[in-house]
Symmetry: C2
Subunit: 425 residues, 2 copies
């Protein structure tokens, strides 16, 4: 007998029919002798509908009230799933974040789980119940409802798996697992059987959207094995676990992110501490930026470049205008047509020359590199966005990741890639 925590996203719960299918899957787990907990997201697009309603009455709804509102989305799907299980003769008990004992910090809209009091869940599991928990939400010590922010349901699932000492945390979504690259862009992408926490974190940070970083960090910290798999078939997906348990590939995966823009401050006086001041100003405005490059000084001035999410540009613009004046720079330039491409692999640590090989492959294929940043197990470059597909496919081949099979599902066309980019705004 195993204890299994499963997590189902909104797409997997979008319709009564899909909810019935999830119920059948949970019941099968139980019939195999397992204790089963399911963490659920809100059905389909229901969170978007609640947000629209909120913005109809208040352009900037207060954070506490937004949490009280959004928490209903998961509360609906949890009770409907419990009803679907009941219809199949199973005993199911739904629980809100509060009922499941998920205590969080008081930061509304992006609370962090601080404690899990799992007595009720354990009691219901021991009594033979299938427990359905509303993801994405918790409660403060004062009894206020909180939500965990983007990807919160994944975090709920991993935290619960740690809290009830589950054997595995199965995260179901609409993809089969973790691929060596986005199969919609790289048709020869291969599904990985397993990947280490560290590699998964680097891939997630570099733009791979299957699992959220917070959930993977939580899993690493508490040693929870994640199984990323598809709701729409029964094939095994990808295990995310300790690196020690697997062979270390030199390059495990390639990720891309075209939701960021490259920003350059031109001809900044090259004084001591100027970079600290520039980025201090940006940090004060609470804007997250990513790669930072400072060029070699020439005539006492320098160029400072960084990448930032395109969605932040409206807020970044006035900060940069002020910075140009304050620091005596010539001007700032924003390039929205860039993409970041990253290769990730735990084996890089013991294999020098991986970065050099990446740069050569890109150069041989006419892809110009604008910025570079590296970690122990990752190399990222910023390139012209139009070259994303070329870069991904040639790197994928060069690092020996190509599958024999060609991915058959619809490929993203140039227009779709552009649309995906536009959505980042």
């Amino acid at each position: 007998m195993a204890r299994i925590v499963t997590k189902f996203g909104g797409t997997s719960l979008a319709t009564p029919q899909r909810i019935r299918e999830v119920a059948a899957r949970l019941l099968a787990y139980q019939n195999e002798g397992n204790q089963v907990v399911a963490v659920v997201s809100a059905m389909g697009k229901s969170t978007d509908e609640l947000l629209k309603l909120a913005h109809d009455v208040n352009e900037n709804p207060p954070a506490r009230e937004l949490d009280q509102l959004l928490a209903t989305g998961e509360q609906v799907s949890m009770s409907i799933l419990a009803m679907a299980l009941d219809a199949r003769g199973a005993h199911a008990v739904s629980m809100t974040g509060r009922q499941a004992g998920i205590v969080t910090t008081t930061v509304h809209n992006k609370a962090k789980i601080s404690e899990i009091n799992a007595e009720r869940i354990n009691k219901e599991l021991e009594a033979g119940g299938i427990v359905i928990v509303a993801g994405f939400q918790g409660v403060t010590r004062e009894g206020d409802i909180t939500t965990l922010g983007r990807g919160g349901s994944d975090t709920t699932a991993v935290a619960l798996a740690a809290g009830i000492d589950a054997d595995i945390c199965e995260i179901y979504s609409d993809v089969d697992g973790i691929y060596t690259a986005d199969p919609r862009v790289v048709p020869r992408a291969r599904k990985l059987d397993a990947i280490s926490y560290e590699e998964m974190l680097e891939l997630a940070a570099a733009g791979s959207g299957v699992l959220t970083m917070r959930a993977v960090e939580f899993a690493r910290n508490y040693g929870v094995v994640i199984h990323s798999r598809s709701t729409f078939n029964n094939k095994p997906g990808t295990l995310v676990k300790e690196a020690s348990e697997m062979e270390q590939a030199i390059v495990s995966g390639i990720a891309y992110d075209n939701s960021e823009a490259k920003v350059t401050l031109r001809d900044v006086p090259d004084d001591v501490g100027i970079a600290a001041e520039v980025f201090g100003t940006i940090a004060d405005a609470n804007i997250n930026i990513d790669m930072i490059v400072q060029n070699i000084s020439e005539n006492g001035t320098t160029d400072i470049s960084f990448t930032a999410p395109m969605g932040e540009l409206p807020r970044l613009q006035p900060v940069l205008e002020a910075a140009v004046v304050k620091f005596g720079a010539r001007k700032f330039v924003v390039d929205e047509s860039v993409a970041k491409v990253s290769i990730v692999g735990a084996g890089m640590k013991s294999n020098p020359g991986i970065a050099a090989k990446m740069f050569r492959v890109l150069a041989d294929n006419g892809v110009n590199i604008g910025m570079i940043s590296t970690s122990a197990i990752r190399v990222s470059v910023v390139i012209d966005g139009d070259k994303t597909e070329t870069a991904l496919q040639t790197l994928h081949t060069a690092f020996g990741l190509d599958s024999e099979e060609v991915f058959e599902e619809t490929q993203l066309s140039g227009e779709e890639l552009a649309a995906k980019k536009a959505k980042g705004r």
Copy 2:
């Protein structure tokens, strides 16, 4: 400074625009120096939509899960209303039943409020906040969500008014208050300025749908003054309070109910205790019945008639079939085309002859009486449903209730009355 509890039904909160209007009204109360609590129902038809979703996955959803689901309806409207108040610069705090300290019994779908822990509400009111409470819901001592059943939000409002020692409980709906009769059937109906708890209870029991009996009973038991008024204008409505504070009219109002059927068991052997046995059998099936009449015995057999909600007929049918066999009756007959008409007035106690006058008025106008039942302040008769309008209008005139003005809004046509009846099924 007064403490005011207000309650807004689903129609008053059906759209963002109506929610903004409710917010404006609450803010006006606060600006006049009052402490304000608002109890809200679910927006518009959202409870029906949740029920439909539930029945899509389970024809007979478990009661606990239904409560977990339905409670989200009020949770949405409470947070949206709080956001609308915030948009107007007010400080508003929404609370679920649990957050508001509403503790109930464990009977899901029709829990009773057993305790109100009002510390949090009092704290927020003292701090200048407008408190928005989700109606219709509470929490058991074990932390399970419960709902209070039909009209539950009215009960929440009255119970809260008692719990925080409010000066008044204003129940807003889409009608102006309590009328001497349904103005859609009796165009000369008059709005009452005040009515006693006892009269209101009799009118509610007799079919007047403005306030629910449970809420009025609660108000009577705890001395809460209710003000029933309209969301759509600023006119004073009807106060519901102690009889001692007002002049007692002989007839205060006339109500009708066409949602019940008349059932007759024919030729039941007239043995001692047979009625007790018949109605014991029906009570065991948990079916509520209303008026009971037993005819005078003839040839050792008798007819027993009663009324029952048409919605209960499918469950009642097999019980009656068994009763016919068990008690040796000849057969049973169901007449769905009846209506119950009641006159209610505290002054009846000291004015004999009111029932006789009622019967005479009906006879003079060709309305045949099928059954009669009375209380100290009410006389009810069952008549042919087609005569409902005639009965109501002639009684209204005969007991001096007619207004000078004629109610101008759309009257219910014969078809609409029939449709209303069909809905009872």
